[in-house]
């Protein structure tokens, strides 16, 4: 694979990743360019064999067909599997099965990078807060654009390096990520969302007794394993009771 092909594939890989600035965001990127089916055709065009690209893309897409990212938690990363797996398999003339195994492994690496990006992106939130305080509204609004830096680097570089230098280098990098880093990122990633949730709870909790509602929602999920719709209905029932039996506002005509 020559330099230009590797750069093109890496750029395409960035565009096809979730959270990238592609036409119409994720709709044009992740959900269109980023689908292995579509990506396979595009990568095939870059490498000069559209047909083989589509066949590999179909196989890898079938592998990831059930991937659903629920509540921002990702089951598997489709991006590296697609944009590293398909090109490597095409260059190495690998079988469809071999491509799938490679894609699944790369999905795990992608998952690590996914969480890592989400954590370091928190630094932009500090930038936003500063800009807001200074009254720089345009600066706040443009955060999704300049905030792409980390994401771009973390998508472009791995794809480019692997496509250009081959898979042995990638395996070296994967084993070079120390276990402690993965461990700490995992622990930190589990805790950081608490801040966001607390900032919301803050506005909802008027009296300590209101914590009961929070704990109820928490336990509905952990102890009863119900889905979020059931949680909503329980919340609505409680809200209806509260609404009907609490004191009326101000002067009532009833």
């Amino acid at each position: 694979m020559n330099l230009i092909q590797a750069i093109l594939i890496a750029l395409l890989g960035y565009l096809g990743a979730k959270w990238s600035i592609s036409p119409m965001g994720d709709m044009g990127g992740y959900w269109t360019i980023g689908r292995p089916l579509v990506a396979g055709a595009l990568i095939g065009a870059i490498l000069g064999d559209v047909q083989q690209g589509v066949i590999l893309g179909c196989a890898i897409n079938a592998l990831f067909i059930g991937t659903v990212n629920v509540g921002g938690v990702t089951a598997n990363d489709i991006n590296f599997g697609t944009f590293i797996g398909i090109p490597l398999a095409m260059v190495a003339k690998a079988s469809v099965e071999e491509a799938c195994v490679l894609a699944a492994l790369l999905g795990q690496l992608g998952l690590f990078i996914w969480n890592f990006t989400k954590i370091i992106n928190v630094t932009w939130i500090r930038v936003i807060d500063k800009k807001l305080e200074a009254g720089d509204l345009d600066g706040v609004a443009n955060a999704p654009i300049y905030g792409q830096v980390f994401h771009f680097l973390l998508r472009f570089i791995p794809i480019f390096v692997t496509c250009y230098y081959g898979s042995t280098l990638m395996e070296g990098i994967m084993t070079a990520i120390p276990a402690w880093l993965t461990g700490i990122v995992g622990i930190l990633g589990g805790m950081l969302p608490l801040i966001g949730f607390v900032l919301i709870i803050k506005t909802c909790i008027k009296k300590s007794i209101h914590w009961l509602y929070f704990v109820l929602g928490f336990m509905l999920l952990t102890n009863f394993g119900v889905n979020i719709l059931t949680v909503l209905v329980v919340g609505l029932v409680l809200a209806t009771i509260d609404f009907n039996y609490s004191k009326k506002d101000g002067v009532t005509n009833e």
Binding site: W19, I21, G25, T32, L37, V38, G40, A41, V50, Q51, Q52, V54, C58, N61, G66, V68, N69, V70, G71, G72, I125, I128, D129, L132, L137, D138, A141, N142, A143, P144, I145, G147, Q148, I187, L188, G189, G190, M191, L192, P193, L194, I195, G196, F197, L199, T203, C204, Y213, F214, G217, M219, T222, I228, L229, V231, G235, L238, S246, K248, D249
Partner: protein
């Protein structure tokens, strides 16, 4: 209350485009999509508050400072509701407390994500994909990829706009109803309750803190995490929530500091195996 609209259908379309384009584009662990919500409001700020930089700043602040997360493509209907509420607030600032906005936002975003994650990502996309894969997997023909793009944009893209626009319209009607009667305070209370229950469930599903300690003595090993979870699953998350709440609300600790504490806890916790 005047019935004059501040936003035209075109403004709503611009807002939708901005939302879809940038919804996920600065995903972060702390506030998820709130900067994207603020960017959308930035597009309509001059329509909502012409020549009023202070109110424009408030508008941005409200939307960027609170956690916001939902499914962006179809769950955007919630964002339409948010837009409608901001428009109502701009028309009638005193009648519409910030609280009402945030409590409705909180109550809606989780369920919307729940419904549309399964409908959009879990149902619509897999069905379309499966059809298209079937057309191309043997032959490698371009029909599959092309049909996928057409179906995705024709069905899912169109539905995204319709959901957003209808969310906006429903939002306007609903908010006007609430504001025009004397139920506002009670309504806010009720919305807060729904919000808290939903946030409780969202916290449980997206946070995890596990204890990694195991005591081994001979053949007997005691798994502390298992014991904690048998008292209450995810007990440590519940404790962690309260500690974070205590620091932010009671101690007024800066968020940056709390993040440093968390990093410290994660590092120490990992190396002492207290956390896993």
């Amino acid at each position: 209350m005047s019935n004059k609209r501040l936003l035209t259908k075109k403004d709503v379309f611009v807002a939708w485009r901005s939302w879809e384009w940038f919804a996920d584009q600065i995903q972060n662990m702390e506030r998820q999509m709130s900067p994207s919500l603020a960017r959308m409001m930035w597009h309509v700020k001059d329509k909502l508050y012409p020549n009023n930089p202070d109110m424009q700043k408030d508008l941005m602040y409200r939307n960027v400072s609170e956690y916001f997360s939902t499914e962006p493509v179809w769950g955007g209907c919630i964002v339409g509701v948010m837009l409608a509420m901001e428009e109502e607030k701009a028309k009638n600032p005193d009648a519409m407390p910030d609280e009402l906005l945030s409590s409705i936002k909180v109550a809606l975003m989780g369920p919307a994500a729940g419904i549309f994650d399964s409908l959009f990502q879990g149902t619509a996309v897999p069905i379309i994909t499966a059809i298209c894969i079937g057309l191309s997997q043997e032959t490698g023909s371009l029909i599959g990829p092309i049909l996928y793009v057409l179906l995705f944009w024709g069905i899912i893209g169109t539905a995204s706009w319709l959901l957003f626009y209808n969310g906006y319209k429903i939002g306007i009607e609903g908010v006007e109803k609430i504001l025009s009667s004397d139920i506002k305070d009670r309504f806010i209370n009720a919305a807060n309750i729904v919000g808290l229950v939903v946030i409780g469930a969202m916290t449980a599903s997206s946070c995890k803190i596990n204890c990694g300690l195991t005591f081994v003595s001979g053949d007997l090993s005691i798994d502390i995490n298992g014991i904690l979870n048998s008292i209450q699953p995810k007990l440590l998350v519940l404790v962690g929530t309260y500690i974070t709440y205590y620091l932010i609300v009671k101690k007024q600790t800066k968020v940056t500091k709390i993040m440093l504490y968390m990093l410290l806890v994660a590092v120490i916790g990992y190396f002492t195996t207290l956390l896993a």
